[in-house]
Assembly symmetry: C2
Homo-oligomer: 331 residues x 2
Amino acid sequence: MRIVVLAGGIGGARFLRGLKQAVGPEADITVIGNTGDDIHLFGLKVCPDLDTVMYTLGGGIHEEQGWGRSDESFAVKEELKAYGVGPEWFGLGDRDFATHIVRTQMLGAGYPLSAVTEALCDRWQPGVRLLPMSDDRVETHVLINQDGEKKAVHFQEFWVKLHATVPAEAIIPVGAESAAPAPGVLEAIAAADVIILPPSNPVVSVGTILAVPGIRAAVAKAAAPVVGLSPIIGGAPVRGMADKVLAAVGVETSAAGVALHYGGRAAGPDGTAGTGLLDGWLVDTSDAAAVAGVESAGIVCRAVPLWMTDVDTSAEMARAALALAEEVRRA
Amino acid sequence: MRIVVLAGGIGGARFLRGLKQAVGPEADITVIGNTGDDIHLFGLKVCPDLDTVMYTLGGGIHEEQGWGRSDESFAVKEELKAYGVGPEWFGLGDRDFATHIVRTQMLGAGYPLSAVTEALCDRWQPGVRLLPMSDDRVETHVLINQDGEKKAVHFQEFWVKLHATVPAEAIIPVGAESAAPAPGVLEAIAAADVIILPPSNPVVSVGTILAVPGIRAAVAKAAAPVVGLSPIIGGAPVRGMADKVLAAVGVETSAAGVALHYGGRAAGPDGTAGTGLLDGWLVDTSDAAAVAGVESAGIVCRAVPLWMTDVDTSAEMARAALALAEEVRRA
């Protein structure tokens, strides 16, 4: 079974770990990773979401933190601070630095990001095919309103430095409109047996991937069923600050709100046009009341436990997503 | 008193520490540092000699080793090895990596090496003005004869990887002929009250500096006395493998051999033309027998202890060099 997952960072990575357990080693999983939160720091190219997926699936992740390396040290960071070189708010550890050094060296030598990612994965053996959404540079910027002054800042500055505490008025995937899907991305979507939108941020993770010209259309017309899992439970993000960026794009922070944001592929009984992406949607059991509203938009919806407390619960969610895919495939 | 020193790595740095102690904080010391052993590793620009001087004078050097940082760790190196990215033979520590990251980022932003070096020294406060010999890229390569096959390798490969165990047939400062002295280099030489060639490698350290067009001529015509200290004691290098590279340029590994290699500025009583650089030369007391030969080439020569066992002995050597400079100035 060929499974394609459009993934962001922590939520996507943890779901993928469950998915791998659920389907076993024989499944063929392609991950299309968000690169919109990539950032150049200290002259090095940092790809937080790709690395979070790679480290999580490869056994190198800092488990409690959810990002960065286990058994990490911070000598380089300490020295950079002694040199007065910032930013200090992005916490790169020594082991993590090595990844960025290798990546930057390869990019400098002319390899595209997809080839670099493959080379890095050659060490980590994540058990999935990890593709960046694009080899072209896309950087998500956030239009913020800080004390009455509007300015666009890099997503990481909004997210990591400002902790999303200032209002976001717009999310701008700079460069997306002229980016091309990385080699293999459209082919994987077209050949997929199942396409999954994991509980990643629908705006700055999955939304950015979909902003690369060609990817949204490929998902919309894919032969495979498309199912998603809500990153919102009970009106709040499971993790992170998705509500802040949902507000910026005018989407209600609710399990149904995100489903309707993605939209359904089939025309809904309520007359919804069916120009969206989803065949199926999973909400948490606590959001069971949202099922009817989602289904009225032509999206088959089920309520199952969506807390990824460990690999087993994540695997159970993955099984529910695959079961829903079979259900909507038959429909 | 304005003192100019043409320095390589460990020997030059240790001499400079003694010189600083000898002259006190009021003296104005400009160091023209060798950059011929610079190397790009992992996409980063590494300047071993500049860093050795900076760390030694700034209190960050690994004392026993003579190069690299004190209190060093090797997480980045370990990770690079796990990625299969080499070379492994050049041991960069985590703290040292930060220096190269800052340097590479600044160079990438368009700053010349001299400005970058000044910025790095802003942290280390070495108490001297440290100038790279040139802002242009010069890389010393060594023509080696390895098992009958001749090939040119980077100096660091010859020195650090091969430990100078294969015959060196020529020393080639690649790029030197089109390099220009860094801003301030020629001005410092012209304005100097004393010019010192410390016990650095006469071929791959001082020799490379002198290979940058304009520098040798500036030293030769400088108003200040030029005095040097032998890096060879009793027919062997005090440190390192200078004999290997002296052989490659056809110079005898002896205190007198190096003096004659530099040459005297005055015409010698033996009829030597006086097209060289030295007014004075210090040999170790154990090489006192060499004094007459050096002096016959028009170079005033004195025998004093030349083992830099600690800062005090290095300071004593510096005082001897300054005294010799006064002697030849009066002459």
